[in-house]
């Protein structure tokens, strides 16, 4: 979403869904995985008569309350979405004024860019990468991108898009996705209605789209559709990425990725050895006249971050201690890469905090092999995880030879979120403070306590023994009252940021904006001269001089618009709907007066939400997508994504049919594939069935199986198959089956259901095997497996999310319990 809109987060809020007219749940199973958030869908249905569409390989619990359902073959969503876009264009279901002005439809693209045979220009098969030089705008003499506001120029984004989606006819969709044509068209009709300015659709999705080798492109598909319908920035509209773990949004916001710094700043690469080089590619000058291009402030956030990290040791003279930052030699050290390195024997110590990779990551055999090569594995977890016990033999459930594994394992008992104080960031970017419930049992310690104690020990070692480069450790700011136990409040205040010395008010000569030592009000007060510190700029405002804004619990909602501005704090700046400026037309009048969000009073922007635009930025001049250099959103993402500026149909690495656009193409042509893993991809000749994996409401991943109540509600590992496949293979309901793939085998109970139906794709009958993921060899529930013994070790080309949602298996009845 970041390449499309400028920010990679759910655009609207959970509470806003109640204002929608149409919900499409595709690429997720919101009722199952987000039951509490799903209440807003029920609310929209009950009080506004909203409709719900579900597109999923299985008839899910979400589908059970839907108005319309259509099946889809796992891994074929791009074809479906491009098909809808094609239909909307062909049937004039386009919010023209929005598209012309608020997207880059009118911008002209370089001549060199093109697409054929499923590939964009510039593909290098050797490198598995594109040369993206031509995937960009034509830049005029004025330094700005060239445009044709009439959308006539054949090189304008709009016309390129029209050409691009041309192959995705309803017949093509039916053939590739297995979705019956009449169902597809019915959905097009329902979606098409939302191109009217007073009709909105919201998209709710999660892993059904992300866990593919082209996951980011799936999302792009819907993001583009939503722009064409004019639904971004609207109340009841938006792209609602439903996040997973209660604080996974917080995790990304805080940059717990190998290539990120808090607040979506980036870790330098080896190609950026110094501060000047680093900053030169981050100046983000506007690409159209008068646009905000908010990332122009990058240096303020970055310098404030460096000051938060190293305080006085970060000075203008030493480029804010830029040399303290690690420089990446590869794009990311994501989990897949780490396990690959581990397997190659290049990792000695693995510190595993609140993560159960043995269960959660693909190709368990490989993971076990990798963990076995470690010298030390430290697991910080409130529970006994499978990962911590990977060396234990549990019969068929974990068939390892403990004597052959030399890895030393340390388990550090931590508390769990419910015993902890702090804020969780929900999908809607709300930072909601919570207070500890029960007292931690036994020797369990808060994660912060464990980390702080470890850090102090490490720092002591560096103090005493020196080391290659002790400075970043010795100089790290650690000004907590109890250095061995930083409090949540202290950490939160650090994220908000404060003035290190008096900050002058640029608007008011001589006046002070923030006095030294005071919390900044929000990130608009941050500076790049070292006078402010802020650990996570986007969170700034969460705990300022008004106090802990995340702890606010006022549920008043003037005019019932679903904004709840005084409930907790939402980043950025307590804004509830991102790009909300786009809810009004070029004059600043709401597209739909009944759905007013903010409007231009003649002098400034005002309304129910915090405007996502400079409050005095004139409506006709400054466009709504302030994070983007264009000021508009992007139907065409230039070179920002490795696998293309438009989504193009790609098959999963393990697919039942060849890519109809280019039969030679396997998976995503630019995904990173390690050599050993490539050899382990299955073909549909050996493994004819398509498997997909997912979660069930009754469990949360691999830890609620430790809870007896959850275990009683869903006690045993099962797989779901259609009645047709069951009949074909002689499988009975409740019978035991063996499911195997190229990388392993599992045994499960068979749930034989009408909710999965065979599909016809490219002349073949495609059967789907559904594999829920919640079982393992620890806990109160019955021992079982889950899908990851079977899943392929390959990720999305852009973010390395593993391809958990589409792979190949086979199935047969199994008579007995596997030998223990």
């Amino acid at each position: 979403m970041a390449p499309t809109f400028g920010r990679g987060a759910m655009s609207n809020a959970w509470t806003d869904i109640k204002s929608t007219d149409l919900v499409i749940v595709m690429g997720g199973n919101a009722a199952e995985a987000h039951p509490c958030g799903f209440k807003w869908v029920t609310e929209a249905k009950a009080s506004r008569g909203a409709k719900l569409i579900v597109v999923d390989p299985r008839y899910t619990r979400t589908a059970s309350v839907s108005d319309y359902y259509a099946p889809i073959r796992p891994g074929s969503d791009i074809a479906f979405l491009m098909g809808v876009i094609r239909w909307c264009i062909a049937n004039d279901k386009v919010q023209w004024e929005y598209v012309t002005n608020f997207t880059n439809a009118a911008l002209l693209v370089k001549e060199g860019f093109g697409w054929s045979d499923g590939l964009f220009t510039g593909y290098d098969e050797e490198k598995r990468d594109y040369d993206k030089a031509d995937w960009d705008y034509q830049i005029g003499e004025d330094g700005f991108a060239r445009v044709d506001m009439t959308l006539q120029d054949p090189r304008c984004v709009w016309n390129l898009l029209k050409t691009h989606v041309d192959v995705y006819t309803p017949e093509f969709v039916e053939n590739v996705c297995g979705t019956p044509k009449d169902r597809f068209l019915q959905i097009c009709e329902m979606i098409g209605e939302c191109s009217a300015p007073d009709k909105v659709m919201t998209s709710m999705y999660a892993l059904g789209w992300t866990q593919h080798s082209k996951g980011a492109q799936n999302i792009r598909g819907m993001a583009m559709l939503q722009l064409i319908l004019g639904n971004i920035g609207m109340r009841g509209g938006g792209m609602n990425a439903l996040r997973g773990h209660s604080n996974i949004q917080g995790l990304t916001d805080l940059g717990l990725m190998s290539n990120l710094i808090p607040g979506y700043l980036s870790i330098p690469t080896e190609k950026e050895p110094d501060w000047q080089t680093y900053m030169s590619s981050r100046e983000f000058k506007p690409l159209r006249p008068g646009q905000t291009s908010y990332w122009q402030n990058y240096s303020k956030f970055m310098v404030s971050f460096m000051k938060a990290m190293w305080g006085d040791a970060a000075t203008e003279e030493n480029d804010w201690a830029y040399h303290y930052l690690p420089k990446l030699d590869v794009p990311t050290y994501d989990i897949l890469r780490m396990f690959e390195l581990m397997k190659q024997g290049q990792v000695n110590l693995y510190f595993c905090q609140g993560f159960n990779p043995l269960m959660a990551f693909p190709n368990r055999a490989k993971l076990t092999e990798a963990l076995s090569k470690l010298k030390l594995l430290v697991v910080m977890d409130p529970l006994e995880t499978e990962t911590a016990h990977f060396w234990e033999n549990h019969g068929a459930y974990n068939d390892v030879d403990p004597a052959a594994i030399q890895t030393e394992v340390l388990e550090l008992p931590s508390t769990c979120f419910a015993e902890d104080e702090g804020a969780l960031v929900n999908s809607g970017r709300w930072l909601q403070w919570h207070w500890p419930g029960p007292t931690p049992p036994g020797e369990a310690k808060h994660d912060t306590w464990i980390m702080a104690n470890l850090f102090q020990k490490v720092r002591k070692l560096y103090q005493e023994e020196g080391g290659v480069f002790p400075d970043p450790i010795l100089n790290l700011t650690w000004d907590y009252q109890d250095p061995l136990d930083p409090s949540s409040a202290e950490l939160a205040r650090e994220m908000n940021g404060r003035a290190l010395r008096d900050v002058a008010d640029p608007a008011n000569e001589g006046a002070t904006l923030v006095a030294a030592g005071k919390q900044v009000k929000n990130f608009t007060q941050l500076q790049d001269d070292g006078s402010t510190m802020c650990a996570c700029w986007i969170f700034s405002g969460c705990w300022n001089e008004d106090g802990n804004n995340m702890a606010r619990r006022d549920n008043s909602d003037p005019d019932d618009v679903g904004m709840f501005l005084n409930w907790s704090f939402a980043w950025p700046l307590n804004r509830r709907i991102l790009y909300n400026r786009a809810s009004a037309d070029l004059q600043g009048r709401p597209w739909d007066p009944d759905r007013k969000l903010i409007e231009w009073t003649g002098e400034k922007w005002e309304g129910y939400d915090v405007p996502d635009i400079g409050v005095t930025s004139k409506p006709g001049e400054v466009m709504p997508f302030i994070m983007n250099q264009e000021g508009t959103s992007r139907l065409f993402t230039r070179g920002m994504m490795r696998d293309g500026p438009f989504p193009t149909h790609m098959e999963p690495f393990e697919a039942p049919i060849a890519n109809v656009l280019n039969p030679k193409m396997r998976g995503n042509p630019v995904s990173r594939v390690f050599v050993d893993d490539a050899e382990q991809f299955a073909t549909s000749e050996e493994f004819p069935l398509v498997a997909t994996s997912y979660r069930l409401t009754e469990h949360f991943h691999y830890w609620t199986k430790h809870n007896k109540v959850n275990a009683s509600l869903q006690p045993e590992f099962f797989v779901e198959i259609s009645e047709e496949l069951a009949a074909e293979r002689g499988i009975t309901r409740g019978g035991r089956v063996r499911v195997w793939g190229k990388r392993g085998e599992v045994w499960a109970k068979a749930v034989v259901t009408k909710r999965i139906k065979p599909m016809q794709c490219d002349g073949k009958t495609v059967h789907v095997v559904g594999i829920p993921l919640h079982w393992g060899f620890k806990g109160a529930a019955k021992k079982g497996w889950g899908p990851n013994t079977l899943t392929p070790f390959v990720g999305d080309a852009n973010v390395e999310t593993p391809e958990f949602k589409a792979f190949l298996v086979n199935i047969e009845p199994a008579a007995e319990e596997p030998v223990a």
Binding site: A31, K45, A46, D67, T697, K749, T753, K782
Partner: protein, 320 residues
């Protein structure tokens, strides 16, 4: 301590001070095996829990909330090829989501009908009628039918009395268990735990009148979506219930995992508890009294001559 208010919604927050129960022994309108119960001097507002099947997503939050609140200990069973777990109501599972896959012949669409099963809190409760133990089952004037476990003897008559197959007898303490409509929560002004936990508000709680009004709105909405036979399931046969459903296909309750079409207390149970008892008591009374009277006033005695006759007979034989 002040008396807890009558709860009219499941959403109300827990009281922060202890409150006096609003459900008094004197609010009992019926008690099992207690024919001469004094009628209460006040009538509580009739309450009801509405289960809107069309809103339910089958998440089982209600099921786990019920386990947590009632502190039961359901067994960890196994998968038998369906989503229901446990597979039936048990003494440790007062409510159960039942899933049925139904292909609508009219539309050719698959529907996954998910119904929360549990005690319906009948206005005319068959369980109470059948129960032989005085005060083991009571009905409050707000409509809640509750099992008073210290009076329960575990005979299982309530099982045969119930038209909905709800009560379950514990193998551990041999007492009968079922949904209490969270009478212990209602008593302190709270709605049921399941209703509170339900994320989609498929379960709502309030006065029966409000719930009926709400249910009617829901039926309207469903009709507007093409469910022509949407309706309320509040069966007359048992005098209406205090837990009732909104169904998309109210004309076919059977498709919702065998919800009874026309539930009523079985005529066999009525006969057993009615005429059999009266006639039986009368017959036994008359017989016993008759026997005593006749025994008092007449007798059948052996005459001395008969003793002699016998002696003769025996002697004759011995000699002969």
């Amino acid at each position: 301590m002040s008396v807890a208010p009558q709860p009219t919604t499941s959403a109300s927050n827990p009281p922060v001070q202890p409150l006096e129960s609003n459900l008094l022994p004197s609010d009992v309108v019926r008690a099992s095996a207690t024919p001469d119960l004094p009628q209460p001097d006040r009538q509580l507002t009739r309450v009801a829990k509405l289960i809107d099947v069309s809103k339910c997503i089958g998440c089982k939050a209600c099921q786990s909330a019920c386990v947590e609140w009632n502190d039961t200990n359901p067994a960890i069973g196994e998968n038998t090829g369906v989503y229901e777990n446990p597979h039936d109501l048990t003494p440790d599972m007062f409510t159960l989501m039942r899933f049925s896959e139904w292909e609508n012949p009219a539309t050719n669409e698959l529907e996954w009908l998910i119904r929360k099963d549990g005690c319906m809190h009948c206005e005319d409760p068959g369980c109470l009628k059948a129960c032989p133990a005085p005060g083991a089952i009571v009905q409050y004037s707000n409509g809640i039918v509750d099992f008073i476990h210290e009076n329960c003897i575990g005979c299982g008559y309530c099982v045969t009395g119930c038209p909905f197959d709800i009560p379950r007898i514990s193998k551990v303490d041999h007492k009968s268990y079922k949904c209490t409509l969270c009478s212990d929560r209602v008593a302190v002004g709270q709605g049921p735990a399941c209703a509170k936990a339900c994320p989609t508000k498929a379960i709502v709680f309030g006065t029966k009148d409000d719930m009926l009004a709400h249910a009617n709105e829901r039926v309207e909405d469903l009709k507007s979506r093409g469910y022509d036979n949407a309706g309320i399931y509040d069966p007359e046969g048992v005098g209406g219930t205090h837990v009732f459903y909104v169904l998309h296909h109210a004309d076919k309750p059977g498709i919702y995992s065998d919800l009874p079409e026309n539930p009523r207390i079985s005529p066999i149970v009525e006969g057993w508890k009615g005429v059999t008892k009266t006639a039986g008591m009368a017959a036994m009374g008359v017989a016993a009294a008759g026997a005593v009277l006749m025994g008092l006033f007449t007798r059948n005695k052996v005459d001395p001559e008969e003793e002699e006759a016998a002696e003769r007979l025996v002697q004759d034989r011995e000699e002969g």
